[in-house]
């Protein structure tokens, strides 16, 4: 007798009666049934919880990476830790490092697919509104900066290409700088001073989401100077502050020359991002003796995050599979015991006209009820765990609609899979011997 031939000819009425019967039989041994189903409960719950937590973690990572722009390649100047020419530089007193004008022109000229680049430079000093001051940064960049960085101008406008060409003394303030420097009045139209230069405020831009995120995490602590940026045309910055940055900090004197602090290259086609990154790296390796730059490829990060998620999923999947397997074996074990225990009942039913397939169906249904009930319970627990994690660990969790459905389906499938053997063993019994069983 095959499984399929037995599936044929199951009427709905019989199915209903068999389900009622199965529930009755399981209800007779409530504690045993509960304990048996527990394996499935934990298996299913862990599947759902793990999926939700994993999905949430990867969503968070992807969100952060996407904010950097998946078509972007971000180059940053980094102060070298141990330079080969340290002696020389100490004598000249000016530390010269980082991305150069030459790097950028070479990249733009030779790397295929590079569409636009956003160079930037920073000068750190106090920013003044009359007598109010904030420790901040003058950030020189290009007019297409907001578009490239996905940052919205909240009020006013960003500076224009003409303003960049003319080295106009205009500035756009980040939200937090505007709030700190102009706590009471509207900043647009006002003037901000840095050192001896004055800049007219033309707009307010939203904070860098990465900075905003770290800031909100450190809530309560005094606002750092990190997000306090006055964004001005890069030409204006060079005009007013020159190429050499001089810092006087607590008595010591530091001078450094950095042409660009950060350059963002946008690649037109996402497929070209990785080759372009290789080409850029090649150029930089040739031009720089020291490792005084850092390259970040968000797309690469994204891929790595996806890979990490894949590994995570495989690990979690195996754990879940093992726990479900153990649950299934537990069910099979109990069902085999049940079949032995109910040998007499099987004999009676056979004597009263039950066919083998009726017996198979009865025990299979009972197993599926057991595992299905465990599955439902597991779905309940599995949905509660991510909620608790979100509540108490402040982590993003995502429950996708298919996760509980899948987990429940698996639990039913386990019931069928591990129920088949005990059910067929029950059906295979000789009626006479079954009736004689004590």
């Amino acid at each position: 007798m095959t499984f399929l031939t037995f599936l044929r000819g199951i009427s709905l009425f019989r199915l209903k009666r068999s389900i009622v019967l199965g529930v009755k039989s399981l209800w007779m041994h409530k504690l045993r049934s509960l304990l048996t189903a527990l394996g499935i409960v934990f298996g299913v719950a862990s599947v759902i919880a793990m999926l939700a937590i994993g999905e949430g973690a990867s969503f968070e990572a992807q969100q952060q990476i996407k904010e950097l722009g998946s078509q972007n390649i971000i180059l940053e100047s980094v102060k070298p830790t141990n330079t080969t020419t340290a002696g020389e530089q100490e004598r000249s007193l000016i530390l010269e490092y980082g991305l150069t004008y030459q790097d950028i022109t070479q990249i733009q000229a030779t790397v295929p697919g590079v569409q636009i680049t956003v160079p930037s430079r920073r000068v750190k000093d106090f920013l003044w509104n009359v007598s109010q001051s904030v420790d901040g940064t003058a950030f020189g960049t290009v007019p297409w900066f907001p578009k490239m960085k996905n940052r919205d101008v909240i009020r006013g406008r960003f500076f224009t290409e003409i303003e960049m060409k003319d080295c106009s003394p205009v500035c756009v303030l980040t939200e937090s700088l505007a709030r700190n420097l102009f706590p009471l009045n509207e900043p647009i139209g006002q003037t901000v001073r840095m050192q001896t230069s004055y800049f007219r405020v033309v707009g307010v831009i939203e904070d860098d989401p990465a900075v905003a995120a770290t800031e909100s995490a450190l809530e309560g602590s005094a606002e750092s100077s990190e997000g306090m940026e006055m964004i001005i045309p890069i030409t204006t910055l060079e005009d007013h502050f020159g190429e050499v940055l001089v810092k006087y900090r607590s008595g010591s004197f530091e001078a450094e020359k950095v042409e660009y602090h950060e350059v963002t290259a946008r690649i037109e086609d996402a497929d070209d991002v990785m080759p372009a990154a290789l080409a850029i790296q090649h150029i930089l390796e040739q031009n720089h003796e020291d490792l005084d730059y850092k390259m970040t490829v968000p797309l690469d990060l994204l891929r790595r995050a996806e890979r990490t998620k894949q590994i995570f999923n495989i690990v979690l999947g195996s754990i879940a599979a093992i726990s479900l397997l153990v649950g299934g074996i537990g069910i099979m074990n109990i069902m085999l015991a049940t079949v032995t225990e109910r040998t007499r009942e099987i004999g009676i039913r056979r004597a009263l006209g039950a066919k083998r397939k009726d017996i198979v169906m009865q025990f299979l249904i009972e197993t599926v009820i057991l595992s299905g009930a465990g599955g439902l319970l597991g779905v309940g627990v599995g949905l509660a765990i991510p909620l608790a994690v979100t509540q108490f660990a402040n982590m993003v969790t995502i429950i996708e609609f298919w996760a509980p459905t899948l987990a429940f389906t698996i639990s039913v499938a386990i019931g069928v899979l591990f129920g088949i053997y005990p059910a067929f063993r029950a059906a295979g019994m000789n009626p006479v011997e079954a009736l004689r069983h004590e």
Partner: protein, 254 residues
């Protein structure tokens, strides 16, 4: 032997069946022809039944007696289609059932036969009514109809007030009455009872036998195994099995 020898028409199975035919022209409901049952026990072949020829007619009320190990249960299992003869033919209602498939045998059991066991054999997780309904369920009788039939039968065996009781809440005699109702549910051609009163005290046993008498007078065909000569006396025909053969068969004429 003494009580029944005077009533005996014939002394062995073969002539008996001829004799029975001689005085009864109805078609037999059960006919065994040269039935043997062998069990292989290691290297030894145990012959539990050796050449049984038997005709049972509608309305017969038969008791099977004989020493332990004589083959009574073996024969009843074959009559009940729970087991099949090693050799020989079994005709039930004129149909050869000696070589049927497992499914077909289940169907015959469910439709044509009713069983009553020594140890009642009720299903513990089911109530009185539900137990009576079991054979109907396997015949695909609708819920409503089977419930009605079951209640009717429960009332008939005097358990109208215990419809929803579990077997554990009933006395032995009551349990056996549930088993009788269950055996009647499908309106079978023959009811087979293996020491139905064996676990009961004489009072409850007597009640059961009264029900049997009543059923037979209502026209039911009953075959029961017993060890009790007094019980055998109530029946209209006595068969004695010894060493797997029919040693004695009597039909009491009225």
């Amino acid at each position: 032997m003494s009580d029944f020898s005077s009533d005996a028409l014939v002394e062995n199975g073969l002539t008996n069946s001829l004799g029975a035919e001689g005085c009864d022209h109805r078609k037999p409901v059960i006919e065994l022809l040269g039935v043997e049952k062998h069990y292989q026990m290691g290297s030894v072949l145990v012959k539990a039944l050796r050449g049984i020829d038997l005709k049972i007619f509608p309305g017969d009320y038969i008791s099977i007696l004989g020493p332990s190990g004589g083959g009574k249960s073996t024969m009843l299992n074959i009559l009940g289609c729970l087991d099949q003869p090693s050799i020989g033919t079994y005709l039930l209602n004129g149909t050869d059932v000696s070589n049927l498939s497992d499914d077909a045998l289940s169907l015959v059991r469910g439709k044509e036969l009713g069983f009553i066991f020594q140890s009642y054999n009720l299903i513990q997780q089911l109530s009185v009514v539900e137990n009576i309904e079991v054979p109907l369920f396997y015949q695909g009788v609708s819920e409503k109809e089977s419930r009605e039939t079951a209640i009717e039968l429960a009332i008939k065996v005097g358990l109208g007030k215990r419809l929803d009781h579990r077997p554990t809440e009933l006395s032995g005699g009551q349990q056996q009455r549930v088993a009788i109702a269950r055996a009647l549910a499908n309106d079978p051609a023959v009811i087979l009872a293996d020491e139905a009163t064996g676990n009961l005290d004489s009072k409850s046993g007597g009640d059961i036998l009264e029900i049997f008498d009543q059923l037979n007078s209502d026209g039911k065909t009953l075959v029961m195994i017993t060890h009790d000569e007094d019980m055998a006396e109530r029946t209209h025909r006595v068969i004695r099995l010894k060493d797997g053969g029919i040693a004695f068969d009597s039909r009491t004429e009225n």
